[in-house]
């Protein structure tokens, strides 16, 4: 972990560490914590790496790079028994900051070193990075290669300056502590695994799915998606538009989608509140729409830069009236990519709004992934101009068995119609007749049945037979997968039912699994146990236990394992 005051450049150096490992073929997961302030608060960047997949942070720190003393005091309780601390200084201070004797302290005079090398104070990180690499016996040339790639656009001098400082830190440790820290990390291969946040993955997925229009209003933790796509505007011929508010963001996406472009918006709960009315507009006009909602702790502004899963029910039911929508909650970075692709397909195939529900933990933390395969594109019943040429009585809202009516893009002479937020007849014309109303409601809602049929059934991780079945959704997946290993080490047979699709809901399948399960424990990063409520609503079944956390922080695997053991009376 690297920790220090906001403004110390912690985010940038953390990502360096992450990529140094991933370039060596290792798996990495990182966790970024910062308060809702630009400066002055305490920031941390926790990197975890291994030669197997890592799904979460562990909750303890093996190596702490403390850019100020406060960092040591804030985190000393989290240090692992044989951990070590790198700090800016000449020697171990009297009292060793009060840390346990088993913890090694590695002073390094960062400030002085930077000054003597003529660097800016913010480059203390850079030297610390070199020192870290030395202490774990990792290949310094990987970090140097990364530096040169990253600073290349700023010129050769910048590259050399940085490498000089990295080297200084590295050399200092090699000279003074040639034995290293005792911890050894070796590169695995040169596969240079990509490292992505959930935002990056959703963005890449959207690009691969042919999304060309992105309108949004900045809001943590969804802003990263805006930044990523804005930077790709030219490369992928996108229109990326920062709007005056979230009302306009979603409405522009609806307009663009109506005109035939795959369009998307993203926000967090507060902004989604402002999109609520337009969800219904998309549903009534049967316009495809993709929205990512990145949750953060509410109510209201809440804890703007922390994490929570408190908006499930909200996005399931936002906007007046009954209408079909899909709510999906990818559980990790890889699923974010596929969710984005599938969201566009479902939105177009069923001409409905699709919500990708993520959260701060998923959207802003990095994780290594393998590359992605090509994406399948399905635009559904979209009539092409040739098909329209022969159409003489086009009904945009034709009542069909599937509930889906053939769509046409505005521009064709035979395809003129009125997209209408009022209840309407098959042509889109205002129609107040009760019979028509009932038929149209049935038509629209019928889509849900067909969608459910095509959605993949929920996945059960772990053994089919188990004592404990953990049930969860979204980003808790990572910590749960890690917790399962801890539980297995304690000889507890555990499996995990991940609910990827919250709406429509695989009630039968979930009920079947629950009925065969031992103790069911719903794990949620919220106060309301919202998934447990959905499960009970849809299946009638109550989970046995609820393991909830709503401190604005994600579960650690240890917390889950501990919680489970307590619940099942396992001492």
């Amino acid at each position: 972990m690297i920790g220090g005051e906001a403004g110390f450049g912690i985010m940038a150096s953390g990502l360096m560490v992450t990529k140094t490992f991933s370039r060596g073929g290792l798996h990495v997961f990182d966790t970024i914590e910062y308060p809702s302030l630009i400066r002055g608060g305490h920031n941390t960047y926790l990197v975890r790496t291994a030669d197997r997949e890592v799904h979460a942070h562990t909750g303890y720190i093996d190596m702490l790079v403390a850019l100020n003393e406060e960092t040591i005091h804030l985190h000393k309780e989290e240090m692992s028994q044989t951990g070590c601390i790198i700090f800016d200084g000449k020697e171990e201070p009297e009292g060793r900051f009060g840390v346990h004797a088993d913890i090694s302290l590695f002073p390094i005079p960062l400030t002085e070193m930077i000054k003597s090398l003529g660097g800016k104070p913010i480059m203390r990180n850079t030297a610390a990075l070199g020192a870290t690499i030395a202490l774990i016996g990792y290949d310094i040339t990987i970090l140097e290669g990364l530096m040169s790639d990253m600073f290349q656009h700023k010129g050769d001098k910048m590259v050399l300056d940085n490498i000089r400082i990295v080297r200084a830190g590295y050399d200092f440790m090699m000279d003074n502590h040639p034995g290293g820290s005792g911890m050894i990390v070796n590169p695995l291969d040169d596969s240079r695994k990509p490292v992505l946040t959930g935002n990056d993955a959703v963005g890449l997925g959207a690009l691969a799915a042919g999304c060309k229009f992105y309108s949004a209003y900045p809001m943590t933790p969804a802003s990263g998606l805006l930044h990523f796509l804005a930077a790709e505007e030219k490369n992928h011929n996108l229109v990326v538009k920062q709007t005056e508010d979230e009302l306009a963001a979603v409405l522009m996406a609806i307009g663009a989608s109506h005109a035939g472009v795959r369009a998307m918006t993203a926000t967090s709960g507060g902004g989604f509140s402002l999109m609520t009315e337009s969800l219904g507009l998309a549903a009534m006009t049967e316009t495809p729409l993709v929205i990512m909602e990145g949750q953060r702790p509410g109510p209201s502004t809440g804890l703007a830069t922390r994490t929570e899963q408190g908006d499930l029910r909200f996005v399931m039911h936002a906007a007046q009236g009954d209408f079909p929508r899909v709510v999906m909650a990818p559980g990790d970075v890889k699923e974010c990519f596929w969710a984005a692709g599938q969201a566009f397909n479902l939105a177009e195939k069923y001409q409905i709004p699709v919500i990708i529900l993520t959260d701060k933990f998923l959207t802003e933390n990095h994780r290594t992934v393998e590359g992605f395969n090509a994406m399948t594109i399905d635009r559904g019943l979209l009539l092409d101009p040739e098909e329209m040429d022969v159409h003489s009585d086009y009904k945009r809202y034709e009542i069909t068995e599937s509930g889906v009516s053939p769509r046409v893009l505005p521009g064709h002479t035979n395809g003129i119609y009125n997209a209408n937020s009022n209840e309407h007849d098959e042509y889109g014309v205002d129609q107040e007749d009760p019979g028509n109303r009932t038929a149209m409601m049935d038509k629209r809602m019928r889509k849900l049945e067909h969608i459910l049929e095509e959605l993949e059934e929920p996945v059960l991780y772990g053994p089919v037979e188990s004592d404990v079945t953990l049930i969860s959704w979204g980003s808790t997946k990572g910590p749960i997968l890690e917790a399962m290993m801890l539980l297995e080490q304690n000889n507890i047979r555990v499996n995990f039912l991940q609910i990827l699709y919250l709406l429509p809901f695989h009630a039968e399948q979930v009920a079947r699994i629950m009925n065969n399960a031992g103790r069911t424990i719903c794990v949620e990063n919220n106060k309301g146990a919202q998934l447990a409520g959905v499960i009970r609503e849809r299946t009638g079944l109550a989970v046995d236990e609820k393991l909830l956390k709503y401190s604005g922080r994600m579960f650690t695997p240890g917390e889950i394992a501990g919680g489970v053991m307590e619940m099942i009376g396992h001492g």
Binding site: E233, M252, G255, S257, V261, N418
Partner: protein, 286 residues
């Protein structure tokens, strides 16, 4: 080439007999024809209010959206397919009340959209409450003791916000209005046509007769230079015995579509959806 009657539909308007919306409808159909447009090339986006049903009465692509949100929907459509001639329609509540934020921001963008506001100075569809353009002191269902705020002035707001074509028409003079709309369509950039629209049911002050007596056309009584912003401002605040109509202000500035680099070559909707290659994009994450 299409003429005005090609923009008719078979649906009978539900407006009150004598409503100013009829004049606007006539003018609009005429203006579309005058602009040499075919119905399939036109996209009309309306909000909610008495005006809203207009999409059903003009044979053209229509999007009857939600209250106050005409402009962002129109913007999305235009950016996705700028070959469509997009006409946004709004009521005064719609456009200058709940939707005024979009109004201001759309103007500073200068998209090539024509906005027609059916300004009847009342919330008519909801049975006659006060609107942002209702005159101070007016008594309505929601203000039985009189409105106490000063009305918004859409023309000065437009001048302050970068609109490049600002005009005012009168529903009681469809030929003149037709010309203003057609000129607005011809104008490259955001065109506002604020239309003085009598509501015979809920507005017994700003009636047809009221306007007939007061409106005059800019330029009819001597030279008027619509490129002079200060002169425009002076006329924009005129409201009393004389009420100016016509083209108030016009300016030439690149449109938004001109400046969005990725739609210069072709409309966005024509870019392929299938077969996007992300492998290069992926490199930055290694």
């Amino acid at each position: 080439m299409a003429d005005a009657s090609d923009f008719r539909t078979a649906i009978k308007p539900v407006w009150c007999p004598g409503c100013g919306n009829f004049g606007i409808l006539t003018a609009l159909r005429g203006a579309l024809a005058d602009s040499g447009l075919e119905p399939n090339q036109v996209m009309i986006v309306s909000g909610i209010g008495c005006h809203g049903a207009v999409t059903q009465y003009v044979h053209a692509n229509g999007f009857h959206s939600i209250h106050g949100r005409t402009l962002p929907v129109a913007t999305g459509i235009k950016l996705a397919n700028h070959e469509l001639q997009v006409i946004a329609m709004a009521g005064d509540g719609d456009g200058y009340g709940i939707g005024i934020g979009h109004f201001i921001h759309a103007m500073r963008r200068n998209l090539d959209i024509t906005l027609l506001v059916h300004n009847n100075k009342r919330y008519s569809l909801t049975t006659g409450q006060t609107s942002p353009t209702t005159e101070k002191g007016s008594s309505t269902k929601s203000t039985p003791f009189g409105v106490i705020e000063v009305p918004v002035n859409p023309l000065t707001l437009a001048l302050s916000s970068g609109a490049t074509y600002i005009s005012r028409g009168f529903a009681g003079d469809p030929p003149h209005l037709r010309k203003l709309i057609a000129d607005g369509i011809a104008h490259k950039g955001f065109a506002l046509v604020d239309v003085l629209q009598p509501c015979i049911t809920f507005n017994h002050v700003n009636t047809n007769a009221f306007y007939k007596e007061k409106v005059y056309k800019l330029g009819e009584d001597g030279d008027y230079d619509p490129t002079d912003m200060v002169a425009a401002y002076e006329r924009a605040v005129e409201w009393g015995d004389r009420i100016p109509t016509g083209l108030l202000y016009k300016e030439s500035r690149p449109t938004y579509e001109d400046e969005v680099m990725t739609i210069k070559d072709m409309p966005l909707v024509e870019r392929p959806v299938v077969g996007v290659d992300i492998s290069k994009t992926m490199e930055q994450f290694r």
